[in-house]
Structures are given as C-alpha cells and as structure tokens.
C-alpha cells in the first residue's frame, strides 16, 4: 500500500449526500478482474452528462474530494476505491462514509477524513473557491488557505498503518499467527460443530 504522509493539493467539491459506489463505478464495469485502469470508468454516467467537477479545467489534478454525507454507501465493491486511487485521489473529506467503502479506502492508501458539519463546510468552501488544501496525517490537521487549521481524528492503528503503508496481511501473519492458532484450538473444543461439519454430509 502506498503510504500517506502529507499532501497539498486542489480539492474538488462533490457535496451531494449518499453518493453510492454504483455511481462511483457502475456495475457494468465489474466484470473487470484487475485492479488497474478503473479510473476511466469512475463516475461514468455523471461524466456522460457533462459538467462533472473532475472534468472541469479548474479542478485538473485535484487529489482531494470534499464529498457529502454517507459517501461510498451501497455496494461493497472495492472497485470504487481502486477507481478513485487510479484518478489520483488520495483523500476524501466527508461528514460520514459508507462503512465498507471507508475500510476499502484505508486498505488502498486513500485517507477518509470525517468532519463535523461546520468544519466540513469550511473545507467545502475552500474547495469551491479553488484553494489548495493541506493535509498532514502525522499531526491530523487540515490546513486552509487562510492559515487556519482543522483537526481530524483517525484511530491509532489506522493512522500508523497509512503513514507506513503497511501491508495488513503480512502484519497479521507475523504478529497474530500464534494467537489465531490458540483461538482455533479453543473453538475446536468449545464448538466442534464448526469444525466437524465443514463439508456437507452425504
């Protein structure tokens, strides 16, 4: 996973609530079996309609999205996170996120920032004005053009993993292999039906 440390970039405003992963990557592109190249299908329907914010010259090179509440709700498709990353997006600022999308984002080096309403509106205003926004993950601060800053919070585990670009699976295998084996031994004794009946009985 690509580490996320700090970023100073244009922020594109996409403030409507409940932008779902069907909008971010329509289902007809889901027969693709690779993670690469999905950016060209991102927001396909909205781009067809024209006037889509990421296609406006003003927002060329935007790496931050300021999105509305419940961004990424709906289908669990990780293609949504892959597509945004493929477009060069590194951080999304929203009042709330679809939970599966948020987990997918974190596993692909995308920083999801949840803000309260008034703070979110300040970042949205900066995006609409075309100001650059600075995000520093180590100090968990968003810097605005007027030199003010806004604090955001991520759990320690999430922050450290993103800062280091850690591979979660390798980390779990190294740190928790023994704990997993111990859990399995306990469960095998306590709930044998979960172990004896794994295969259908004839």
């Amino acid at each position: 996973m690509e580490p996320f440390t700090s970023l100073r970039a244009l922020a594109a405003p996409l403030p409507g609530a409940n932008i779902d992963t069907d909008i971010i990557v329509p289902a007809r592109f889901l027969t693709i079996t690779s993670k690469q190249g999905l950016g060209r299908h991102a927001f396909a329907e909205w781009r067809l309609e024209g006037n889509f914010v990421l296609d406006e010259p003003q927002y060329e090179g935007a790496q931050i999205l300021v999105a509305g509440a419940n961004f990424g709700c709906g289908s669990s498709r990780e293609h949504a996170a892959w597509a945004l990353a493929d477009l060069g997006i590194r951080a999304i600022v929203a009042p709330s996120f679809g939970e599966i999308f948020r987990a997918n984002a974190l596993r692909n080096g995308l920083l999801p920032i949840t803000l309260g309403d008034s703070e979110w509106r300040r970042v949205l205003a900066a995006a609409k004005a075309g100001d650059c926004v600075a995000i520093d993950l180590a100090s968990q601060q968003i810097g605005l053009h007027d030199e003010t800053s806004i604090a955001f919070a991520l759990s320690d585990q999430e922050r450290v993993a993103l800062l280091n670009g850690w591979d979660e699976i390798d980390g779990i295998r190294v740190r928790y292999g023994t704990a997993t084996a111990e859990f399995e031994a306990r469960q095998r004794a306590a709930a044998p039906w979960l172990w004896e009946k794994d295969l259908p009985h004839e």
């Binding site: 027969t31 990780e78 939970e99």
Partner: protein, 452 residues
C-alpha cells in the same frame, strides 16, 4: 455485566484486542462470488499463499450469470469471470457450486439454504447484503476484496466495534404488508445514513412472528439504513429452518444458540421503535432508499430536484397510478420461495398488463425447483410473466437483464440508485406483492385494494 447479542458474538470471536474498540476477529465462514473475489485470489497467489481453511468457504457465481441461455454465456467478460472463479476454487480446494449445479443461486439465498449460515458464527462475503445472514443470529457483514484476501490468508479480520441500535417492532403487520415494507419504513424513518457505525438488532413481537425468510428480508436491507450488520436472536423458528439442512450440525446445538439472545437488562447505545400496525405498503419515489413513502402517499413537497429529474416525477405527485414498463420479482432481498408464493398469490385471474414486461427470477435453483413443484411457475407463466433461471439479474444489471434509459420498473430489489438497473433506469422499490400487482395493473397500485 449484561450483554447484547452483538456483544456476545463479538466477544466470542476476538483473537486479539488492539484497544480503542479495535480487535482481530476470527472468521468462521466466508461466501465467495465471482465479482469481488478475482483480485483477492490473485493477491493470495502473488504472496505464494493458499487459503488457511478452504473448507470454511463456499463459492457460487450469481452477479454476472445470465437468466436464460446458460449453456453459452454471451458476454465474453462475464464468461471469463465465472470461469476464473471456478478455476480459483479448483486450485485452492474451495467448494464451488457451478452454473449447472441445482443448488446454484444468489449467494445470500444459498448460504442459508445449505445450512452454511449458522447462529453464533461470524460470516463474511464480498457483498454488502451479507447483512442478510444476521437473521440467524450470525455476526455477518459485507467486506471488500482486500478483506477477502485477508480472510483467505489468515482467517481473521481487523474490525472496529460497532455501536448497538435496537429496533423494536411491536404489533401485527396488516395483511399484504410484509418485511420489505417494514424495512423500507424504517429506512424512511431513520435515513440512508441513519445507522452508520451501528449494528442493528431487530426485536419485538412483529419480528418474533416473522418467518426466517421475512427476517432475512429485514436484515438484508440493513445496509440501506447505513449499518453493516443486522441481527435477529435465534429461536425455535431459526432451529426449525436449520434442522436437516446439508451443512447443519447434527444435533443442533440449541442450548448454545439460545444463549445468544441479548440479556434482558442489556443496554443498547440507541433505541428506535416502530408500530407494525401503522406500516403501509411502501414505494420508493427517488434514487436513495430513504426516499420512500406509503403507496397512498405522494412525492414530498420539499423533495430534491436531482432525484425528481432523474425519476421524471414532480413534487406532490401521487405514487398510486404511476405507469410502469417493467417488473422484476427476485434478488437477494425477495427471491425466496415465500416471496414467490406471496407474489403468485396476488395473480388471481389477472394477466400482466399490455406493454409491461415482467420477469420472475428465483433466488436459487432449489427455490426454482420448489416453486415448480408447487405450480407457481405455471401461474406466473399463464399470467404472462417470464420465468427465469436464478441469479442477481435485474437488481444489479451486470448480465443482459437491464432497463432501457427512462424505463420505469417496479422492483423487489434493494437499491433504487441512479443507473442501478441500467443507464437512466427508474427503479421503484416495493414488496413482491406490490410489484406483482403493478405488473397486472400496469401501474403502481395499493395491493391491499387489488387483492381486496
């Protein structure tokens, strides 16, 4: 310390507590389908790993499968994606129900059918409607592809503990008002992001009275309320359903499963109550599942402009009488045998209205066979419905079942999002009885009057 059902399921699966409400949870079962798994299998192979416990997984193709002409899948990418799942399963020792297997069907229909979904387990799938399986008192939730890879490789997932929300539904539902109407009413009440960060437990006399299939419908659309997890405590209804299923334990561990219920004095972070007697047949009018109203109602006077333009509706417009072009009965929400029985029960001597294309897509091969044994297929066919092969079909529009731009569909699926049933498609979510009545009338009608 009094515990909720969610607390008990969580605590029983903690492999390691990392603090801050974050833990590594052991995953007992994973369902796999063709869309969210290819990159996970590829990642596993790149690491040089094999699945940690292949026998804990069950795979099936459902999203991209056609609902007719299955011998030769026309779309080459869909054909390759399904073949890739078969190959990945063969290479890793995971059981795969192929397209010609009588048990093939929608992943959330086949899991319970096979007794793969069990109370007290953790169950995941790369599909947000995995919440369905919570109907059995399983901690079930949708995950992304990276998480599938993690479960294959390690059998654990890092998760943050959710807050708990109890939704108590007391009273008796009116005839012709179903679990689908109940969950749509709840989403209308709390909003599409109303339960973000929560695990919902459904309780109350109306829930206790529901069949397993109705409970699955209720839990299925929990994700549309913003929560990843919906739960119903297991009881005699659950045990009766599971007894004798191919993968069910023999005998059922009833004592252990009964102990999963929330303690009487357990505290929930939030409580919401619904009065079942006040719930009417519900219809969505917009492009988010919380844009919903009783069928006797109208588009709100303060509705947003964008969904109205997309749906071709106006503020204040009545929902009853709205003409439909297509009808879809099926999906992981409403593709089970009881759904098809309820739909068929509305037909009477009527026929599908002229100009309406109506399809019935059973949730699985076993549902299809059961329906045919009961003669439901003949009733649908005689009335002018098409009777298809099982799959996700017109819910996700990944196969060749999709709407043309501007077409209006009465659908028993779970999402009315922009573009969900095809580019420019207009979806009105409703129950199987309501969708069937719409097919026969050619317009949205109140099924209570239609059958009455």
């Amino acid at each position: 310390m009094a515990m909720t059902l969610y607390d008990k399921l969580w605590q029983a699966h903690v492999v390691a507590d990392e603090g801050d409400g974050v833990a590594l949870l052991y995953i007992d079962r994973m369902l796999i389908h063709e869309v969210s798994s290819p990159q996970a299998f590829a990642g596993l192979a790149e690491r040089g790993l094999r699945p940690h416990r292949p026998a804990t997984h069950l795979a099936v193709a459902d999203h991209a499968v056609p609902t007719r002409n299955r011998a030769n899948i026309a779309d080459p990418r869909a054909r390759e994606q399904i073949a890739l799942l078969a190959a990945n399963c063969a290479a890793t020792g995971i059981e795969f129900l192929g397209i010609d297997d009588p048990r093939q069907g929608i992943v959330h229909v086949i899991g319970p059918e096979q007794g793969f979904t069990l109370p007290g387990t953790t169950l995941v799938c790369g599909d947000s409607h995995s919440a369905t399986h919570g109907a059995f008192g399983a901690l079930a939730f949708g995950i992304g592809t990276s998480e599938i890879e993690c479960v294959l490789a390690t059998q654990v997932l890092r998760q943050k503990r959710a807050r708990t929300l109890r939704v108590t539904i007391d009273g008796v539902l009116s005839p012709a008002v179903s679990a689908k109407d109940t969950i749509l009413a709840l989403i209308g009440e709390i909003g599409a992001s109303g339960a973000v960060g929560c695990a919902i437990e459904y309780a109350g006399s109306a829930v206790r009275a529901m069949s397993m299939e109705a409970r699955m419908t209720l839990c299925n659309m929990t994700i549309e309320a913003g929560a990843r997890i919906g739960l119903v405590a297991p009881d005699e209804t659950t045990f009766t359903y599971l007894d004798g299923r191919p993968r069910s334990p023999v005998p059922l561990p009833r004592t252990a499963w009964r102990a999963l219920a929330s303690d009487d004095d357990a505290r929930f972070d939030r409580e919401v109550t619904l009065d079942a007697t006040l719930i009417a047949p519900m219809v969505t009018w917009g492009t988010s599942p919380d844009q919903v109203a009783p069928v006797t109602g109208a588009v709100p006077s303060d509705a947003d402009a964008r969904p109205l333009a997309y749906m071709g509706l106006e503020r204040g417009q009545r929902l009853e009488g709205l003409a439909v072009d297509r009808v879809f009965v099926g999906s992981c929400t409403n593709g089970r045998i009881e759904d098809l029985r309820a739909a068929a029960g509305v037909i009477g001597n009527h026929r599908v209205a002229a100009g309406v294309e109506a399809i019935v897509v059973p949730g699985s091969g076993l549902v299809k066979r059961q329906a045919e044994a009961e003669g439901l297929d003949r009733r649908f066919l005689a009335a002018g419905f098409e009777w298809r092969e099982p799959g996700c079909s017109l819910c996700v529009a990944m196969n060749d079942d999709r709407l043309a731009p501007g077409q209006r569909c009465a659908s028993t699926s779970n999402r009315n999002f922009e573009g969900r049933q095809g580019i420019g498609a207009r979806t009105h979510l409703m129950s199987p009885m309501m969708a069937t009545a719409a097919a026969l009338a050619g317009r949205i009608v109140d099924v209570r009057e239609w059958v009455g």
